[in-house]
């Protein structure tokens, strides 16, 4: 059996879900036997170099770059997994969804208590910067997502079990404690 290829990314997330991936501890050695990583912060490959079997997405979409990356994952991966609360529901970043975007920008760059060095009141608008979306979107509202692994972050065992199930083609054991809403 050829090794399955995995890609991962963190969009509007905190990298906590990636930490949880690393929390599979020494089993990562077993994992390396089963899979190879392509585009991922784990190996720092920046762009897809081949078609990938499983794409793992942490975080939702808050800007145009997130959307672009997510779409490239959909184009390059056979299976996409939303990993964790932010990818599935928008999570903490989505708390801004009830607030007008103008207010958010104003708070971040002009009014916020931590803003010290913006006397010219510049609002970032360089063409190189990603563009903010009106809302923070969960991934499945942008592209089709095949599987959802809940948690904040999802437990390492859950990630491990899901990957093993996907790679071996066996059904996954999902006891209540694993999928309960927190």
């Amino acid at each position: 059996m050829s090794k399955k290829i995995i890609a991962t990314t963190s969009l509007a997330g905190c990298f906590g879900c990636h930490m949880s991936i690393l929390d599979i501890d020494e089993r990562i050695l077993d994992l390396i036997e089963l899979v190879e990583f392509n585009k991922s912060p784990v190996d720092d490959i920046k762009t897809f170099t081949k078609q990938v079997d499983i794409g793992i997405i942490e975080g939702g979409c808050c800007n145009s770059e997130n959307v672009e990356v997510l779409k490239s994952f959909r184009d390059n991966c056979d299976i996409l997994i939303s990993l964790g609360e932010c990818a599935i529901m928008g999570g903490l970043p989505a708390m801004r969804n009830g607030i007008p975007i103008e207010e958010c920008i104003h708070e971040a760059y002009i009014n916020g208590p931590t803003v010290k060095l913006n006397e010219e009141k510049i609002l970032p608008n360089d063409a190189e910067l990603p563009m903010l979306l009106d809302n923070v979107y969960p991934c499945h509202e942008i592209v089709k997502i095949d599987y959802f692994l809940p948690g904040c972050p999802p437990r390492a065992d859950l990630i491990w079990d899901a990957l093993v199930a996907l790679i071996t083609g066996n059904e996954m054991d999902l006891p209540y404690e694993v999928v309960k809403f927190d």
Binding site: S64, E65, V67, E68, K71, S72, P100, I101, E102, I105, L123, P124, N125, A127, M131, L132, L133, D134, N135, Y137, E141, I142, V143, K144
Partner: protein
């Protein structure tokens, strides 16, 4: 102002459990409940301001904002829509010069939409200052507004003096018609009023009465179908300082209006049934919970109770039976569908938000004020009188082997003769359609929005016994055949509502969307499942109707429909039924709308999505991304 409020509070002995009545009186007096009144109420009843406000905000007919001199509540239920709701609404708006949800600038006219008001056989109907206006047309709507503007009194707005039967009684005096189309044992007018209390009760023991009801196999006619005799037996055995009989007259399921007719024409049977239930269970407190929409009956029903007291049919030593003490008061609701659920109804009677309770304990153990409480439907109680009079064996000669007796059907929608039909259990829908003069039928909604949308193609295949199961409330989850599987969704509280749709109707756009709006509006908000799922399922349905749906969307709807079963009460559990049942029986309508060649459509538009932030920071969208 303060004196007025205090006199109202004194009338109810500053009893917080009578908060509903206090608020109703203040609404009638001032048109709304302002901050000052709320603070006086909270202080006098020794409850928090938030407790007063949470009750006010729960009910449609309470308001913290001023309402108009003339408040028009136009019914937006499906039968109303079939008969020109939209045009009538537009006529009201144009003529009044304001939109629904608002008052005119001079505060003369307020326009509001409201859920089913129990007038499906004569809609579109509206409630104007507690008076019912039926069969509205755009012409009538304009006339009413012009008459109000011309300074006419409420009584002068009426364009027909009164309906038939007791609707013409001076204390009722409403233009509502009974529309009784088929009578059987319950609606038979040849009987002597209060005969059982006067002549039979003294000869039988409470146990014998309960036994008779048990032998008759009478089951709750509100829809849940619990055996009435068993309920009485449980109630009679529960220890308690008092016991309570509640008659549930809060029929709010769109398409149901049988209780309206029972209370108009056969209220003596209903009250007599309550007295029998009290005798059987040794209850001393009786309450008729009357939905606010039927307030026009209040004075009349109270006069019936007064006469009963005069004749010693209520009060102490009723009908000469020593120690038999029982009286009935009428509790008015204030507009909330969920209060038809018995534990929500009890909460409401205690002056609280009508949110269903966790069970157990069941009301029969701990109900109103924690006393053992028996909640029976209007029709159930009236049927009990007939059974007590004529015996269980007689009653068992009607209906079919599994379901005995008769059932009142409220028939409305696309048919020539909407109204009340008393049929024996086992009558087929096809027969009902013939009786009602329905032609060109596409679908029949059985059991209201929480029930089942039956495809007319299936009706032809139904045998009598199978039809009976449409109303049979429980025990259908294990059914085996493909056809029976549909029936599992009709495991629901239904009052026998039948709404007919002809072939010109757009089932998804007109019917299912209307029903979903109803559930979204009427959720009590307690469980997240019933609060949120109907809303997001409706959005999904809109996506499908608008041509953006994919096959997975239909599966999503079916899967989400399973989750809603986790809601606390039957009303929440069935809130997705309009969608689930239409997918089951009209799947082709969904499949016609979804895109066959696409498996994903998100409707996400990046240009639109980034434009607010871009324009704020002074930046143009440049398509530099792939």
């Amino acid at each position: 102002m303060k004196e007025k409020i205090e006199s109202i509070l004194n009338k109810y002995n500053n009893d917080p459990s009578r908060l509903m009545d206090i608020l109703l009186d203040i609404m009638e007096n001032s048109g709304y409940v302002d901050e000052f009144s709320i603070s006086v109420i909270a202080e006098s009843l020794n409850i928090s301001v938030a407790q007063v406000k949470e009750t006010i905000s729960f009910y449609h007919f309470f308001s913290e904002k001023p309402r108009a001199k003339y408040n028009i509540f136009l019914n937006n239920s499906i039968t109303s829509c079939l008969r020109g709701f939209k045009e009538v609404k537009e006529a009201f708006e144009t003529e009044a010069g304001t939109s629904f949800g608002n008052l005119t600038e001079d505060g003369l006219i307020g326009l509001y939409e409201t859920s089913c008001i129990g007038m499906n056989d004569q809609g579109p109907a509206a409630i104007i200052n507690d008076k019912i206006f039926t069969n509205l047309t755009p012409y009538r709507a304009r006339k009413i507004i012009n008459d109000i503007k011309a300074g006419k009194k409420l009584e002068e707005l009426v364009y027909e003096n009164h309906g038939d039967g007791n609707n013409a009684h001076p204390l009722m005096n409403t233009m509502v018609y009974n529309h009784i189309r088929k009578k059987s044992i319950l609606l038979d007018e040849n009987y002597e009023k209060f005969d059982v209390i006067k002549n039979e009760l003294k000869n039988i023991s409470p146990q014998e009465l309960i036994q008779t009801i048990e032998d008759s196999n009478l089951r709750g006619r509100g829809g849940a179908g619990f055996p009435t005799g068993l309920k009485w037996k449980f109630g009679s055995r529960m220890p308690g300082e008092h016991r309570v009989i509640i008659c549930n007259a809060d029929e709010g399921e769109p398409g149901t209006f049988k209780d309206r007719v029972m209370l108009t024409q056969f209220n003596d049977l209903v009250f007599e049934g309550m007295v029998l239930a009290a005798y059987a269970t040794k209850a001393d407190i009786g309450v008729l919970y009357l939905r606010y929409e039927y307030k026009y009956m209040l004075n009349y029903l109270n006069s019936v109770l007064d006469n009963m007291r005069k004749e010693n049919l209520l009060g102490e030593d009723i009908s000469g039976i020593e120690g038999f003490k029982f009286d009935i008061r009428i509790q008015l609701g204030a507009g909330a569908y969920v209060c038809g659920e018995e534990s929500a109804l009890i909460e409401s009677m205690e002056g609280k938000r009508g949110e269903p309770r966790d069970k157990p304990p069941f009301p029969v153990e701990k109900g109103y004020m924690d006393y053992p409480t028996i909640v029976n439907n209007v029709e159930t109680l009236a049927s009990a009188v007939k059974i007590a009079k004529n015996g269980a064996k007689w009653y068992n000669s009607f209906g079919t082997k599994d379901s005995l007796g008769t059932k009142l059907l409220s028939v409305s929608g696309d048919c020539r003769f909407p109204g009340i039909y008393e049929v024996e259990w086992g009558t087929s829908i096809r027969e009902v359609l013939e009786m009602a003069g329905a032609h060109n039928v596409q679908a029949v909604q059985v059991g209201g929005p929480s029930g089942t949308l039956v495809n007319v193609k299936d009706i032809d295949n139904l045998s009598k016994t199978e039809l009976m199961k449409w109303y049979k409330p429980s025990g259908m989850m294990t059914a085996q055949t493909a056809f029976d599987r549909k029936l599992s969704y009709s495991d629901l509280p239904t009052g026998g509502s039948i709404i007919i749709f002809n072939k010109d109707r757009d089932i998804l756009r007109e019917v299912v969307m209307n029903f979903m709006d109803f559930f979204i509006e009427e959720s009590c908000g307690s469980c997240s499942t019933c609060r949120n799922l109907p809303r997001i399922m409706k959005e999904k349905l809109e996506k499908i109707i608008n041509g953006h749906g994919v096959r997975d969307d239909i599966d999503d709807l079916l899967n989400w429909g399973k989750i809603i079963k986790l809601s606390r009460c039957g009303l929440g559990q069935t809130a997705a039924n309009p969608i689930l049942s239409s997918i089951l029986n009209f799947r082709h309508l969904y499949e016609d709308h979804v895109m066959a060649m696409t498996d994903y459509d998100n409707q996400f538009d990046i240009v639109k999505s980034v434009s607010p932030a871009n324009s704020f920071v002074g930046r143009k969208f440049i398509h530099n991304h792939s």
